[in-house]
């Protein structure tokens, strides 16, 4: 059983030419390294496996760029069998024809045996390129990969493209959308968030993984990267601030009752309010409310968020019971990857 659940961890595979920025991505997103410091990273010589213990345990495999995975000495089944997404990193500041050629071979090889794998192409290191040039390169990559796959007879393959850079929030947003595709409960979460924001006058709400600042789900309104940054940095603000005063006290005093979770809010001069509430050990809800009346109705917001929290708990409990194999044939009929892998 323990073995089974371990295999059910969605696995992210990071691949691409050497020096394209794969290790920098894992360091910045999962190890909180400053982007400037990634300059000093050594090149990766063996497969680097990172296990993220977060709301969902997933693995990140960082592949050395020079490896040839389809060499017969490699056990492709072992590498690709359970993976959720293959992330292919392309250095946009470099000559990328070789990288594209290898990408298409990889996709074609995968299509035969593991067609369910999402291929995510990160057009990376785009920070220093100007806007026009950036979108030219992006178009070029999409076009060339699409053409090559078409020629090989694969129409509409499972490939998505993202413009990324570790120097801004784009890498977090791209990884968020990669991970969201691997979450079976995503629809439910989005529905819950939609209900919450519509009933509480919120502009946008994100459910964040606290450690990595990747968002697990958001409501279905269009994503605005400014609001994303306000929310993501708000987590930093609150975590940093809390660290300063969260020391063990010799004689802890208390002035009354209080909830267990961290809750925080900030109101601005223009009436805007940012609100954060810890949902469980790994997740927190961050939302922006533009309505000027928000600060007077905080009690109501608290209450709504509390109900959302209960619903969230119910969603994840169910998932846990299912992986435990105790509930069968009941609940949502949508196929869950981990459920399938257990039953076979």
């Amino acid at each position: 059983m323990a073995k089974n659940t371990r295999q059910a961890k969605p696995r992210l595979l990071l691949m691409g030419q050497r020096r394209s920025g794969k290790s920098s991505i894992t360091s910045v997103v999962f190890h909180k390294m400053e982007p400037q410091e990634t300059l000093f990273l050594e090149s990766t010589t063996r497969i680097q496996k990172d296990i993220m213990n977060s709301f969902m345990d997933f693995q990140v495999w960082d592949f050395p760029g020079q490896l040839d995975y389809f060499d017969s000495t490699f056990d492709t089944t072992q590498i690709f069998a359970d993976i959720g997404a293959l992330i292919w990193v392309i250095d946009a500041q470099d000559e990328y024809s070789d990288s594209l050629a290898r990408l298409t071979t990889t996709i074609i090889n995968l299509q035969n045996t593991f067609p369910h794998i999402n291929v995510e192409v990160f057009v990376h290191k785009t920070d220093s390129l100007n806007e026009d040039f950036r979108s030219d390169i992006f178009q070029d990559v999409v076009q060339r990969v699409g053409d090559d796959l078409n020629d090989a007879g694969y129409i509409n393959p499972n490939v998505s493209y993202h413009l990324t850079s570790i120097y801004d929030s784009s890498i977090f947003e791209a990884l968020s959308s990669v991970i969201q595709k691997l979450i079976p409960e995503l629809d439910v979460l989005q529905n819950l968030l939609d209900t919450l924001i519509n009933n509480s006058g919120m502009t946008k709400a994100y459910l964040f993984d606290i450690l990595s600042k990747i968002y697990v789900a958001s409501d279905t309104r269009p994503v605005d990267s400014d609001i994303y940054e306000i929310c993501a940095n708000y987590i930093d603000l609150t975590v940093d601030f809390t660290d300063l005063y969260n020391y063990p006290r010799d004689d802890p005093k208390s002035l009354g009752e209080q909830m267990e979770e961290v809750e925080s809010s900030m109101t601005f001069e223009d009436g805007k309010m940012v609100y954060l509430k810890e949902m469980n050990k790994h997740l927190c809800l961050v939302t922006v409310i533009q309505n000027k009346e928000a600060k007077d109705k905080k009690g109501l917001i608290d209450y709504n968020v509390h109900i959302f929290q209960d619903a969230l708990k119910a969603v994840f409990e169910r998932a846990w019971e299912k992986t435990g194999g105790e509930v069968t044939g009941e609940g949502q009929s949508s196929a869950r990857p981990e459920q399938n892998s257990l039953e076979t």
Binding site: D226, L237, D243, Y247, K253, M266
Partner: protein
């Protein structure tokens, strides 16, 4: 108090390229650390005014540090530059290769200051400390301080290690400004009494636009030793300044409009955080200050503390006469 007296003339000096204008821009003009590389060299003296806590205006003389300018400050403009100076902030570049020459210039400046404003306070910032490897920082800084002190000619000098890349910059400037605020003891007495009223662990007062720490009271400290407090983070106030200012930039970026006005519109009114081990809030207090209050957990008591703080504003103004 007459207006002349409230204006404090602050001389900002040091070798060319040592970082004087960079820190001024970060502290007083809301620059982000990585934006200061756009600044050009300061030509001659740039004057600027920084209002601080309403009744204290800093008249900053940012003195370009190239040799030719230095010469003219020390000779032809000597009297003009050095008379009536309340504060001299002298910046040393830790990376400088001509330490002896820097010290010579410094001692020339000190003697000029002694001649025209003998009562001025002198603060020396050993700057760009981020360029020194962390394990050597302490030692190199102390060595440098000793050299500075030997050249200071019996003026009272305070030294700070600083870097624009972390909270040490705020620590240094808060230390400087702290010395200049009038009525400081009255403010502190008021805050201490208030802290006891609302059972606060700590109260910190910040200046509004710079977010520099004005003063703080900590009730967890044993009465005998005022330095030692229960909190294991001695640099927490500077860190708060740093954290709050960087978040302000995030918000300002998204508030569309000309950058200078959006930064002020991005100012927050109230920040609250409730955790199982403490509750805290940071709120706009008076026209020119923010107040940070840390209290033990307890939801009802926390909400009361927020309300009480807002109501204490009037009493604070009346008692301390800070904003006139």
């Amino acid at each position: 108090m007459d207006a002349r007296k409230r204006k404090k003339k602050v001389l900002l000096m040091g070798k060319s390229g040592s970082g004087k204008s960079s820190m001024r821009s970060i502290i007083f003009s809301n620059y982000v650390a990585k934006d200061v590389r756009r600044l050009g060299a300061t030509i001659d003296v740039e004057h600027s005014h920084a209002r601080f806590m309403g009744n204290l205006t800093l008249n900053l003389w940012d003195c370009g540090g190239q040799d030719a300018f230095m010469d003219s400050y020390l000779n032809s403009q000597r009297e003009n530059v050095f008379t009536n100076a309340q504060v001299l902030i002298y910046v040393f570049d830790i990376e400088s290769r001509e330490v002896d020459r820097d010290l010579d210039t410094y001692s020339a400046v000190i003697s000029a200051l002694k001649q025209f404003s003998p009562s001025a306070m002198v603060f020396c910032l050993v700057h760009k400390m981020d360029l020194v490897q962390a394990e050597h920082r302490e030692r190199i800084y102390e060595e440098r301080c000793r050299m500075i002190l030997t050249q200071s000619d019996s003026m009272s000098v305070e030294t700070f290690a600083s870097s624009i890349w972390d909270q040490t910059l705020y620590k240094a400037w808060a230390g400087i400004v702290h010395k200049m605020i009038p009525n400081l003891s009255i403010i502190e007495r008021f805050l201490r009494a208030f802290a006891e009223q609302i059972s606060a662990e700590e109260i910190v007062l910040f200046e509004r636009s710079t977010f520099l720490t004005v003063t703080s009271v900590d009730t967890t400290a044993p009465k005998s030793t005022s330095e030692e407090t229960a909190n294991p983070n001695p640099d927490r106030h500077e860190r708060i300044s740093n954290i709050m200012k960087s978040y302000k930039h995030t918000v300002a970026k998204s508030t569309k409009g000309p950058s200078s006005s959006s930064v002020s519109a991005a100012g927050f009114v109230l920040y609250k955080v409730q955790t199982p081990s403490f509750n805290a809030f940071l709120a706009r207090f008076t026209e020119n200050t923010y107040i940070a209050v840390v209290v033990p957990p307890g939801e009802a008591a926390f909400n009361c503390a927020v309300l009480n703080t807002m109501m204490a504003k009037g009493a604070f103004l009346k008692k301390t006469g800070v904003e006139g």
